[in-house]
């Protein structure tokens, strides 16, 4: 039986954004599938926000192409059509300060024909948002909830969030993650950028790691947990780094007479190779998302 993969909700091809000489996003090839929660990890300044802004036609790419729900991101009209089904919660989390919660809901509702009033009402109560309070009098946590309410009341096909947990206390973060999980289980595809690894590790199905504007890793959490391993090999003499140019090897680091090999699969083969060239100690351990992230973004290769 052939299982067709879910459609691509986001697809970019060599997407680039330069500000003068500086490339915020460089030849980015990003693929995000529907019906999953995809985490977009990267350091500050890695290009996550710029990428998202290009997807939403807020920023124009210098070169390269991309599609959002199958529609071209550099065509204002197509992108506008896509935005009907895409909800966005930016890192700014600022909403019109002068409007009340109620007024903002009424304002936002007018743009979307698929608005679900019952959902908005339910969330209004669940989030305990006072309808008549002005946005400027809301705390950051409440503004985030309001932003989520405005996003989820449309039952969007895709929800894009940029650093959603920024500035939130742990309880609020927990509630946020639960909300995202709930929305995903109802069919909304979630794409969120973060530099909080714990959150991504918990709820994401898939992770893309961005460094210096380009994707350096792209794997599912299952793959990470099942296949990614760190193989530490100890040698009695100088370790031969070149012996480990094998399929599955992502990174080889040397520390005196030891080699640390990060593999995305095939750990046994690497261990066997090590034994075959007389490694005196062979250690295969699982590797956390944090470790993969740090290794991906700190060194070159």
């Amino acid at each position: 039986m052939i299982i067709m993969p879910d459609a691509l909700v986001i697809e970019t091809h060599q997407l680039t954004k330069r500000f003068g000489q500086y490339a915020a996003v460089e030849a980015l090839d990003l693929n995000v599938r529907a019906h999953q929660i995809t985490g977009f990890l990267g350091r500050n300044g890695a290009g996550k926000s710029t990428t998202i802004k290009m997807l939403l036609n807020m920023t124009r790419p210098t070169s390269g192409t991309g599609t959002l729900l199958g529609m071209r991101i550099d065509d204002p009209k197509e992108n506008r059509e896509a935005r009907r089904s895409v909800a966005y919660v930016g890192e700014d989390k600022q909403l019109y300060a002068y409007m009340t919660v109620e007024e903002l809901i009424r304002f936002t509702r007018s743009f979307y024909s698929e608005w679900r009033h019952e959902v908005a009402q339910r969330l209004l109560t669940a989030y305990q948002l006072p309808p008549k309070r002005k946005v400027r009098a809301l705390s950051k946590g409440m503004r985030t909830k309001l932003a989520l309410l405005l996003a989820l009341s449309r039952k969007p096909e895709l929800l894009i969030l940029d650093e959603p947990s920024e500035g939130l206390d742990p309880v609020a973060i927990e509630e946020l993650l639960q909300t995202l999980v709930g929305a995903a289980s109802e069919g909304t595809t979630i794409f969120f950028s973060s530099h909080q690894i714990t959150e991504v590790e918990r709820i994401a199905d898939r992770v893309c790691i961005l460094d210096h504007g380009t994707v350096v890793e792209d794997f599912s959490l299952d793959e990470l947990q099942r296949d990614y391993r760190r193989v530490t090999l100890g040698f009695a003499s100088n370790p031969p780094v070149d012996e480990f140019r094998m399929p599955g090897v992502r990174r080889v680091r040397r520390a005196e007479r030891q080699l640390s090999v990060l593999v995305s699969g095939n750990a046994e083969a690497v261990a066997a190779r090590g034994r075959s060239i007389n490694a005196v100690s062979v250690d295969v351990v699982p590797i956390s998302l944090r470790e993969v992230f740090l290794e991906s973004v700190q060194s070159g290769s």
């Binding site: 929660i37 918990r202 709820i203 199905d205 959490l221 299952d222 947990q225 099942r226 699982p286």
Partner: protein, 132 residues
């Protein structure tokens, strides 16, 4: 049912979920007919992707341990002999693999290992308890 999931354990989370359900059934913590939360509810409770829960439930249903009834939830379907024969074979193979690997690490050759197994199975028979 309380779950304890570790995303850095080197085992996919959905497998951890499955193992914990199986273990609970084996030890009697979960009994035949017990109701597990729906996929969405459990996902939100554990704060994991619903795909993870869905995969675990789907596999458990495949193994015959869980019965998913539309609308009412997921019911434990534990028979007296909780592991099916295929299941026992699969688990047995995993244990054998691990044992063989560790013996190889100690430096034993395949031939030596094979002889050890033969000795145990065919020659030590009278000293072992009969199998059920």
């Amino acid at each position: 049912m309380l779950f304890s999931l570790n995303p850095a354990a080197g085992v996919p989370v959905y497998l951890q979920l499955m193992q914990q359900v199986r273990h609970a059934v084996e030890t009697g913590v979960l009994k035949h007919g017990d109701l597990l939360p729906g996929i969405r509810t459990l996902a939100q409770e554990l704060v994991v992707s619903h795909n993870t829960v869905a995969k675990a439930y789907s596999e458990l249903q495949h193994e015959g341990l869980l019965e998913l009834r539309h609308g009412s939830g997921a019911y434990i379907s534990a028979r007296r002999n909780s592991k099916s024969h295929e299941e026992k074979l699969r688990l047995g193979q995993q244990r054998v693999r691990r044992l063989v690997e560790s013996l190889q690490e100690d430096g034993l050759s395949e031939e030596a290992i094979s002889r050890l197994f033969e000795a145990e199975l065919f020659y030590a028979l009278p000293t072992r308890a009969p199998s059920p």
